[in-house]
Chain length 397, copies 2
DNA sequence: TGACTTTTTTCAAGATATATACTATGTATT
DNA sequence: AATACATAGTATATATCTTGAAAAAAGTCA
């Protein structure tokens, strides 16, 4: 029941513009000639559309490449300073705001610490708005050059103008973050769950690069997943898809902080691991504690590996991805030393056919990936509908 | 990273043709005027394209509707005899072949029993080919009028020209069913997993109608799911997505017939239920046995409901569907009497936000839905690329 | 019969991608 | 240094497409 769209002949141009821009963005500097092969468009059309894009300053020429005995090809690339994207990471311990150019080079950064339990919405909103001001001032970028602001937050984000957020760990219940931010800024906003933005970062620039069907598993204090179907983050009916951490893996088992019993998070979430090992919880030292557990070969870790493998196997059985990326600080700590064992545990709990076609790899991006991924939300929109970009006039100066 | 396509101006017509045909197919008899509202196309284009479709005999006029004081509208509809679709259900006990017109009226049917364990590929292929012959003869439909043959089979079906099938229960390992069938027929073939075809039937004509994000859970002897993302069956990297039955719900628990431990199927699969109740396995009476268990309020059923609810909750957490359809004969037997309890169990094991937006309903189609759904594979292709339909000349006679 | 209403078709206009011919810009050869 | 050659990119003519406006069609109502 896939529904085709497209109506007028004008949409064609818009679509082909997007096709070319996307190719240029992801493939990098390329000549018009190569673009014909890359996109399937005729040379004439490539010439036409790139002409438009050049005139709009969305792309720029980037040097020549000489070929044996012919006219050298002119390389084209996305104009990195055509516009900028701001990515915001709202985490348990901090609010981080970063400004990127279109090449995803970080141009400025602002960070605000949050006290444990100090997650009042007003405070977070103030930090975000202050951060936007700060990165603009630091980088000297004018607001008109900013294509948008992406925000990665914990919890479930309902898509819609208000961007209602439900985040138990923050004590946020139906918080209209989008609406609140809009009172302080007129920049286009894209709010999404932080696990999804980080997943998109891994997909675009990290270990998920090039896959069309993938799952990025995020294991930190909490446990989540970002599901990629046909190259796009899958969000479901109300944008809450991917709540892997609270799927039941041992019905009736350990009590989870969500109140349920037998949740995966109650076994492989960082806090759950430490708790099972009988260690005191302290967010300042938990990373070191976990590393020590892994190093010492604690039996709790063996058990964790088993549960993690089974959890990954469930994802493979359900989604049949070509790639599974294990990320999040706890996931990386476990994975760096135990990836082979994790794979083995997954294999034992998975149907052979889907397992054999899924590769399990570690995430390649650090914790900053949440903000980076949030910024990709802006880029995603830019690549699709670059025509009426708000920063057009500003960047064309 | 959604990738836009579309190139030439000709694709526009093709796309709009598909848009209109789809609207006519799913909405039913409609006037050109209504189609403009339905599709967003201009009246002129609707007139143009429907003219083409009429000339090609793909659609036909279907009477008038008089309006108060104006020219009466001419109703248009898909020509039910423009072509026919054959659906094949390869089950554990039978091979069923049905021929449908485009209105999905069954015009002929052929059925062949399979002995338990008698699943040799050659036999199944013979039955399918004989069934195709039979339904064509019975209905008087010429082969040239058949748009294609959809086949629903157990196990994992790798998409590709050979349609490799891996079905443990059948003892099929990398069986190239597509290639084998092609030796006996030149009709276009569409092979897919039976749970997926049944899911598509429920999606198009049953309890899933109208949903864009849904999961159709199928509970019989085996347990599977059909995942609908954005209105389309999700297949994953190798078409094996939806293997819900072998996800672990109780790690280290009961041994499943797949060899794993703690699979969902080991708790809610029909055979597993009967086994847990200490009843002898007999495919002839298992349906009655299960019904009796449900009627008598066996504690095994209570436990099953708990596991089923948790399994559904996992689906809701991961996929955030707007609807869950419980189908399959065992699922329906359980659901008819215990849907409230099942919902309660699901709620207890699910995050509140996604649960609150998901409705859990029973399937509305009978066991024939596998063949019906297989036929929808043919229709799906027809609606997308009706231009060069192979049966065009035949049907235009 | 004639005015009016609503649906559908016709027609001219504007926009697009493509093929083909053509121009631009280099290297290789004489 | 001049010329031939090869490759990259552009301009033009053509066939399609969708659309808005006008026209036609086919009724009702007074």
């Amino acid at each position: 029941m896939a529904r085709p769209e497209r109506r007028t002949v004008r949409d064609l141009r818009k679509g082909n513009r997007a096709v070319l821009l996307r190719a240029l963005y992801f493939v990098g500097p390329t000549s018009r000639h190569e673009l014909t092969a890359l996109t399937g468009l005729s040379a004439a059309t490539v010439s036409n559309v790139t002409g438009d894009l050049l005139a709009d300053n969305v792309i720029v020429e980037a040097g020549l490449v000489d070929s044996d005995g012919g006219r050298p090809r002119v390389l084209l690339r996305v104009n990195p300073v055509y516009g900028y994207a701001i990515g915001v990471d709202v985490g348990e311990t901090h609010v981080r705001v970063e400004l990127f150019d279109l090449d995803m080079n970080e141009k400025a950064k602002a960070e605000y610490a949050l006290r444990p339990g100090g997650h009042e919405v007003e405070l977070v909103v103030r930090h975000i708005l202050a951060g936007i001001e700060a990165v603009l001032a630091d980088s000297g970028v004018a607001p008109g050059q900013v294509l948008g602001v992406g925000v990665g937050v914990p919890g479930i984000v309902e898509s819609g103008p208000d961007a209602l957020i439900h985040a138990q760990t923050f004590g946020w219940d139906s918080v209209p973050l989008g609406a609140l931010l809009r009172e302080g800024t007129s920049l286009p906003l894209y709010v999404d769950n932080g696990a999804k933005t980080m997943g998109q970062a891994e997909l675009w620039f990290g270990a998920g690069r090039g896959s069309r069907n993938a799952v990025i598993a995020l294991i930190g204090s909490g446990v989540g997943a970002s599901i990629i179907t046909d190259g796009v983050t899958y969000r479901g009916a109300n944008s809450s898809a991917g709540e892997w951490g609270h799927t039941k893996i041992a019905l009736g088992g350990r009590t989870c902080r969500c109140g349920g019993r037998g949740c995966l998070e109650a076994y492989i979430g960082a806090e759950a691991i430490l708790e099972r090992a009988g260690l005191p919880l302290d967010t300042a030292t938990e990373q070191a504690q976990l590393a020590e557990l892994v190093r010492s070969g604690s039996p709790v870790i063996d058990e964790t590996v088993e549960y993690l493998g089974a959890g990954l196997a469930n994802l493979i059985n359900l989604f049949n991805p070509e790639r599974i990326v294990v990320g999040g600080w706890a996931g990386l700590t476990l994975g760096h030393h135990l990836l082979t064992k994790i794979k083995k545990a997954a294999a034992e709990n998975c149907l052979t056919q889907p397992f054999s076609t899924a590769s399990i790899v570690l995430g390649r991006l650090g914790p900053d990936a949440v903000a980076l991924g949030a910024a990709t939300l802006v880029i995603e929109e830019f690549l699709l509908s670059n025509t009426a970009a708000p920063a057009r006039e500003a960047a064309a100066l």
